[in-house]
């Protein structure tokens, strides 16, 4: 309920900065919010710069921001960084898309039909607690060391979680809304496609957003083990040669791409489901 309407009850009139900062579950002034958000990124950067500039730290241990920027330029100019990024993005894209395509219908069916839920929930609940990286030895055994085991790893890591999360959003569709559809002449298929699905779309997008983060972590893990290119591979090679600056480049790129994914999904959610901003 962030959409304020201008006629909210004003909080007790105490204007001190302390009270403003510690407002409980209430909007803070926009400038303060912006300042705090800039601080969130800026302060660690500043500390990093201070420590490496005045701290006499071995750059093999902690490179300075400038070192990292230079390493970034170096990796960028040789196109290695681009190649690594594309390789990782491709794996995550294929693996995640496959998992989403399979898990969304399965999750909707599990949420809609208690019979299908009873059939699949115990298995999925169990699989969910097996960490996907623990499947790596099996995947290598079954699928070799090419692209297939990496994509499969992402699939395993996303499919079960996403199915169960989609199922949960479907379970919370108000029963009245479904029954109202029946009284308007809707059959079960119409209700599923034209009422349940649109109602849970925002929840599905949100589940995908959360599980894409997991997929992005898994691709890095898969590349740490066996790969010829990829951001995970880049980090592990850099580690072997003690190129700490390149490790930092890899980490920062991974983080920034993940953040961009997240923002993209948030944007998608706002555009496709703006009705949902005040749901319930």
């Amino acid at each position: 309920m962030t959409q304020s309407t201008g006629i909210e009850p004003s909080p007790p009139q105490s204007k001190s900065g302390f009270d403003v900062f510690w407002r409980l579950a209430e909007d803070i002034p926009k400038p303060l919010q912006t300042a705090l958000m800039v601080t969130s990124i800026g302060l660690p950067l500043l500390l990093w710069w201070i420590v490496t500039t005045f701290g006499n730290v071995d750059p093999k241990f902690l490179p300075s921001p400038a070192d990292v920027a230079r390493a970034f330029g170096r990796l960028w100019s040789t196109r290695e960084l681009l190649k690594d990024t594309v390789a990782s993005l491709w794996r995550v894209g294929v693996g995640f898309l496959l998992a989403a395509i399979c898990s969304i219908p399965v999750g909707v069916l599990m949420g809609s039909f208690p019979s299908i839920r009873a059939l699949l929930e115990p298995l999925f609940g169990l699989m969910r607690y097996m960490p996907a990286p623990a499947f790596i030895p099996l995947l290598i055994l079954y699928l070799g060391i090419g692209e297939e085991p990496k994509i499969m790893l992402i699939f395993i890591g996303v499919f079960f979680f996403n199915s169960l999360m989609v199922m949960d959003t479907v379970k919370f569709v108000p029963k009245d809304l479904i029954e109202a559809t029946y009284t308007l002449g809707g059959d079960r298929l119409q209700t599923l496609l034209q009422v349940i699905f649109p109602y849970v779309l925002s929840g599905i997008i949100d589940a995908c957003r959360i599980n894409l983060a997991a997929a992005w972590q898994l691709v890095i893990v898969s590349e740490l083990i066996a790969a010829t290119e990829g951001l995970g591979r880049r980090i592990s090679v850099a580690g072997r040669f003690l190129k700490t600056d390149e490790i930092f480049v890899g980490l920062i790129v991974i983080g920034v791409i993940g953040l961009v994914f997240d923002l993209l999904f948030q944007y998608l959610l706002r555009v496709s489901c703006h009705w949902a901003s005040q749901k319930r």
Partner: protein
């Protein structure tokens, strides 16, 4: 009779055994009547409405609408729920059209019908608004327009004004009477609000609780249907009679609840 309920029983099986929710319900409603069933909680009034809507099937007995036995939900029995059941991603126009769309009616016809009924409920100006932008009373008026767009034989209402504040509820009462007078609707409404029932109905079924039974059937004849009538002694007599009926059973109900 236009809407008939014959020897209807409804049992639910629980862990403690069979629970009789509705016992031998018989009702007959003529075309164009405004009927309320009034009961305290535990009188099975919501369950009764669900049997008429076809959302649930009676254990024995039957419901007939215009001579046809009810076997499932359908748009010939429009329903307005207590909780808001508009589709939040559709605007008011789309919500009103949706039943017709489900029934496979063409775009032009459903647009015209929906617009007509939005006009009937006085919300033409809000056709493009989303449900979240409407007040509670407006949401229920859209829900009514949505049910009416299918031109149902009977309009079923499940405590439709229960969630509204007192002033909105009074406005909705006048709205309903006006709507009923203009459209010659057959309305079957359930409520626990005795004054609401007396003010709106031609006839009231007073339900007893645990199990739900028809305790009395009261014909309501009021000199006028405006708010002034609520100060009239006839209105008070009806109200007191019903309150006594419900209160007598309210006590038993609370004892039953204490035992359970």
């Amino acid at each position: 009779m236009f809407l008939e309920i014959n020897n209807l029983y409804k049992h639910f099986s629980t862990r403690e055994g069979t629970l009789v929710v509705l016992k031998d319900i018989n009702m007959g409603i003529k075309r164009g009547e405004f009927i309320c069933a009034v009961g305290a909680s535990g009188s099975g009034k919501s369950t009764l409405l669900r049997q008429i809507a076809g959302l649930d099937m009676p254990t024995s007995g039957e419901v007939k609408v215009d001579g046809e036995r009810v076997t499932g939900p359908g748009p010939d029995r429009g329903m307005v729920f207590q909780h808001y059941t508009l589709y939040p991603w559709m605007n008011v126009q789309e919500n009103t059209e949706f039943g017709l769309k489900l029934q496979g009616i063409g775009k032009k016809e459903r647009r015209e019908k929906a617009s007509y009924y939005l006009n009937v409920v006085g919300l033409s100006k809000f056709a493009r608004a989303l449900p979240k932008e409407l007040s509670g009373g407006m949401k229920q008026r859209v829900a009514i327009a949505r049910a009416l767009a299918s031109e149902p034989k009977v309009l079923l209402m499940d405590e439709p004004f229960g969630a509204l504040d007192v002033h909105t509820r009074e406005a909705m009462h006048e709205f309903m009477l006006d709507l009923w007078a203009r459209t010659h609707l057959t309305v079957f409404m359930i409520t626990h609000d005795v004054e609401e029932a007396v003010f709106l109905s031609n006839r009231i079924y007073a339900l007893g609780a645990r199990p739900g039974t028809v305790r009395r059937e009261i014909q309501i004849v009021l000199p006028e249907r405006t708010h002034h009538v609520k100060r009239h002694s006839i209105f008070h007599d009806y109200r007191d009679e019903l309150m006594d009926l419900l209160r007598g059973h309210g006590k038993e109900a609370s004892e039953a609840a204490a035992v359970a």
